[in-house]
Symmetry: C2
DNA sequence: TTGTAAGCGTTATCAT
DNA sequence: ATGATAACGCTTACAA
């Protein structure tokens, strides 16, 4: 930078003013500076900048599991928003690396990270999350902690669940079972609530519906499907509402093994619309979340927080769309 | 840090010595410092550190497409290696953000990144890559530029292709077609070479095999499959060797639409073993790459480079394993 | 073994 | 409108 100043015949402060538009500079001098920058291929040292500015222009992205395409899509959204503001995104994959949660805190305090986007997974602990938020700005994605309202970005899980359930009921199904997610997670609660709303709306008693508690894992989906379908053929459910695609896939696999054909003998729906949901046989009917947009929004929210522009959740829930495909059909002895 | 020094009754340099083990310190004073650190919850300012050390303890990870699980797995491997050394990994997704390639260069020069791991995709330009490597250490993954030997981590594509082709030939197939990858990519060339080796080994003339040139895209797989299967039933191939899973899936979809049953009438194999390859119907026979390990290795190589420990590719090719599943069977009129 | 002090490359305050 | 100059928080000769 000194070199640039010398080369342009001005002082370092003038160079700084030009580079940051932070002071009045005569047109000709500005041009000379810009020129010197070109010639010398000068690039500001960002370490020095952040030291002075007390901000790293970097945010952290905590991902439970990158191999999950839903998270990957979210991450891309975050990246998009960040790179638009020249902010770097650092990956934190605690599960993959066996890091303690407090590491994020350390990063926050050491000024390497200005804020954190936290994509919560099944193993998230509300307590440690709360600690984190005290250390610096944190935006939660795909989860909420009901009691403390932290800034968060979530989609309309209840609506999605209600609508996909409605679709199933519209086909005439009356004996339906739910394979739910972990009761501790907000998303799981919301989805279950959505299913119940649909049942009530169709004149069914929500409390009469069998709910099998799962954990969002594929293998569990298979086991619970087996359990749900154990009874005599005339009494067992003709449709399975699975709280996520992974469990739905498990259910699909079980059905195949058990010789139950989908959708002829059994309808199955999921939630998430993983990219390969439409590649399965049969193609899975499910609910799509706008993963990329959520990531983008979350990052934008975080940036607002960093500039004290906004405080808590200003936006509503994220929209969700039912993807009607082949895994749902009217029940064998359909009511019509 | 001054506070810590004061609190411990020593000078700042002593504190620094303790924190970095970079100087001799009396046991009792060291203890006092450590204590003060605890009490004051002191965390070193990393911006200042990197300014002084001229290194950011951060590497960049360029990913063509995070939604591709193969890349996601690689990324996790990189993360693992990096976090073990307390190095941060920043995500660069040029495709997602429309960034120019030169951005990476800027990051390298501005000292925000110490080095880069470059997962190359179909759209990588060798020229710009070469520029990059001049700006700082870059490790290439899953691709090589034959003429310049840059440090790189790749798996044994040729062997994988040869073995999976062998498996197909072992089943008795004699009329086989190849759906290849983009001819400009090293992986595509290697896979094709592997197929040819298998043919030669089985006494077939490699030059007589129909090779359809694809681009690793799913839709292309479908189109090329249609093309390959266009002839009269008695002359058309009984097996399709697809250079990656995505194109194999396209082929599978086309077959379904065209009423060609797999594997009864047609065998299909892919390459990559995407996580859902085994969820398809039929389950896809393919070749698995050790994605996570490759990422880990790449990061380790980069760190060695940064410490001038090693220079170019010291290790061999990464092993690869054929996953035998349901999409391959003996041809209809099998030779046995 | 420990302390003093000189930078690292910026930004920002203050005179000019 | 511009230029000295003092921080920012740390590392590291060099001196004691």
């Amino acid at each position: 930078m000194k070199d640039v100043a010398r080369h342009a015949g001005v002082s370092v402060s003038t160079v700084s003013y030009v580079l940051n538009n932070s002071g009045p500079v005569a047109a000709d001098r500005r041009a000379r500076v810009l020129d010197a920058v070109q010639v010398l291929k000068y690039t500001p040292n960002e370490s020095a900048r952040s030291l002075k500015r007390r901000s790293a222009s970097t945010i952290g992205l905590v991902v439970p599991d990158l191999a999950n395409p839903f998270y990957a899509l979210l991450a891309e959204g975050v990246e998009r928003a960040a790179s638009a503001r020249d902010v770097l995104v650092v990956l934190c994959a605690p599960e993959a690396t066996g890091e303690s949660e407090s590491l994020h805190g350390r990063l926050l305090r050491s000024q390497r990270l200005d804020g954190i986007i936290y994509l919560s997974g099944a193993s998230t602990s509300p307590a440690s999350l709360l600690d984190l938020t005290r250390l610096g700005p944190v935006v939660l994605v795909d989860e909420q902690i009901p009691s403390f309202d932290l800034p968060s970005v979530v989609s309309d899980n209840r609506r999605g669940a209600r609508e996909v359930a409605q679709h199933v009921l519209d086909q005439g199904h009356e004996r339906v079972a739910v394979i739910a997610g972990p009761p501790g997670l907000w998303t799981a609660q919301q989805r279950l609530a959505g299913y119940r709303e649909a049942f009530a709306g169709a004149g069914l008693d929500p409390d009469a519906i069998p709910v099998l508690v799962g954990d969002y894992q594929q293998s569990t989906g298979g086991k619970l499907a087996a359990q749900a379908l154990a009874g005599p053929a005339m009494k067992r459910p003709t449709a399975l509402l699975c709280a996520n695609d992974l469990m739905a896939i498990g259910a699909l696999e079980y059905s195949r093994e058990a010789g139950i054909s989908v959708p002829e003998q059994l309808s199955v729906v999921g939630f998430d619309d993983l990219p390969f949901a439409s590649l399965l046989t049969p193609r899975l009917t499910t609910v799509r979340q706008a993963a990329g947009d959520m990531g983008f929004q979350a990052a934008s929210l975080l940036f607002d927080l960093l500039e004290n522009k906004a405080d808590t959740e200003p936006h509503g829930l994220f929209p969700v769309t039912v993807q009607i495909r082949d895994s749902v059909a009217p029940p064998a002895g359909g009511r019509s």
